[in-house]
């Protein structure tokens, strides 16, 4: 029986906390939590997400077999640069950031092959508009797709280890290039967030008049609640994601705006509404 893996989770909020809970429940891994905030480590300890928790990376990192960055996207490469010297050759380094191109690119100058740790970008499609370790759940990754975005020189064995790691917490790994990933999430994740924000802001403005406000509130149907649900997400977390994926997101927003503008200007043509319905019925399941 091989030794239990030593897994260091950097950042123990919703995703990091859930990963710790999942590893503890489903694997033999020794789980180490690391956060620079003492209060975060205390809250995560109370939730039982790790075996040992630290604020000091010098104590958390030695001997790590796997390191997973679960911190905001813009912090991942800078933190990895600080931590790299403490990682043993062959350690597997991953992140859970919502954007992959800039992170994979940035990591090239941190980990360059032979004699260093190995980096593979990961993006488990799990989470919610909630945040914080209080909302962590051991089954957050069960059934979720986890995108893995290896670089051209990633060794196949490392990719297999990464896939096995995510399978061990219940996720389905899918290999995709960083750029295809970033374009796809711009459209299917980041743009829906901006749309929810824009719809919420518009309704907030319309609702400044009390009678309109009362009508909006009492008539808000399921479609509106669905469309604005993710406006409840943490603005600072999401600004970091939008910034990291600004070009694909801008393109997705422009394409969407042109399509919506066309639907309105041409009075919702039947063939287009039918095509949207077909997409709904076929694309997502087919």
């Amino acid at each position: 029986m091989p030794e239990p893996q030593r897994v260091v989770i950097v950042g123990v909020g919703l995703l990091g906390g859930s990963l710790g809970l999942a590893l503890r429940r489903r694997t033999r891994a020794r789980v180490i939590g690391l956060s620079h905030r003492p209060a975060t480590v205390r809250r995560a300890r109370r939730r039982g997400v790790f075996h040992e928790g630290f604020t000091d990376s010098a104590r958390a990192l030695p001997g790590a077999d796997v390191v997973v960055f679960c911190t905001p996207v813009e912090t991942i490469v800078p933190l990895a640069r600080r931590f790299a010297a403490r990682l043993k050759p062959g350690a597997l380094v991953m992140d859970v950031g919502s954007v992959k191109g800039p992170i994979v690119e940035g990591m090239k100058s941190v980990f360059h092959g032979g004699g260093t740790a190995l980096f593979i970008g990961a993006h488990p499609m799990a989470g919610s508009e909630k945040s914080g370790v209080e909302n962590a759940a051991a089954d957050l990754f069960v059934g979720a797709t986890c995108a893995l975005t290896p670089a051209a020189d990633t060794p196949p064995a490392a990719l297999r280890r990464a896939a096995d790691f995510w399978r061990s917490v219940g996720a389905h790994p899918v290999v995709v290039s960083p750029s295809v990933h970033d374009r796809a999430v711009a459209l299917v994740s980041h743009l829906p967030h901006l749309i929810a924000d824009a719809l919420a802001l518009t309704a907030g403005r319309w609702g400044q008049n009390p009678s309109e406000r009362k009508a909006l509130r009492s008539l808000a149907a399921g479609s509106f609640r669905d469309a604005t649900r993710v406006a409840g997400a943490d603005p600072d977390l999401w600004r970091g994601i939008f910034d990291s994926n600004a070009a694909p997101l801008g393109r997705a927003a422009r394409d969407f705006q042109r399509t919506l503008g066309g639907l309105v200007a041409r009075r919702w043509p039947r063939p287009e509404l039918r095509a949207a319905q077909r997409f709904h019925d076929e694309f997502l399941r087919g």
Copy 2:
């Protein structure tokens, strides 16, 4: 004990069928179903949504205490015009259309006070992206808001009867003017439908390349599924709704597009994302 009310439901699809099931389960009303299509009457009969079903309005309408139009919005006023002469003075006529201004306006020339039936517009905020009597449910209206849009000359007693009717199937009546109603639903119901259509169409175009298609499909997260759910709704039904509410919907779409464009152009400013989050947290529940 008063005589059971005779309620004629015109159009026995999702809403009309659910109304019949609810009345039969929760009240003593005698439920009459009417549709011009024999096949629809047969399917509704199999679902047990009425006591008697007809394709012939001359047999369905005599003696009606309440008539509820559950047909597509653009058909409601023309049908009422055909049926008006068969209705007894004091009969209560309602509809369940998603747009109220044009219907309330059109009905003024059909029912003009003393000696005729009384019309009150209603809009129960229930339904789904599904349609047809097969999806009807006796509890569809339970807990739902039902907008009632009386005209200036609607007798208070008639408004009370309408409110009692909707309470009897579990809905919460809310009185609102037709124009305020139509502006509100343009923003909180009709625009989210158009947004879902536009997002689905954009994704459909991006997904024409197989590798992008695979990535879109495997990375489509909850926010995307939520945002496109209503794209599955019946295009013809919704085109009628959009057409009937074209001016408020156009204004809502323009305001939304300007807001979204501003978010992208100014790189998602922190104060606006915070305002959207506040709206999400406070407006809908406060």
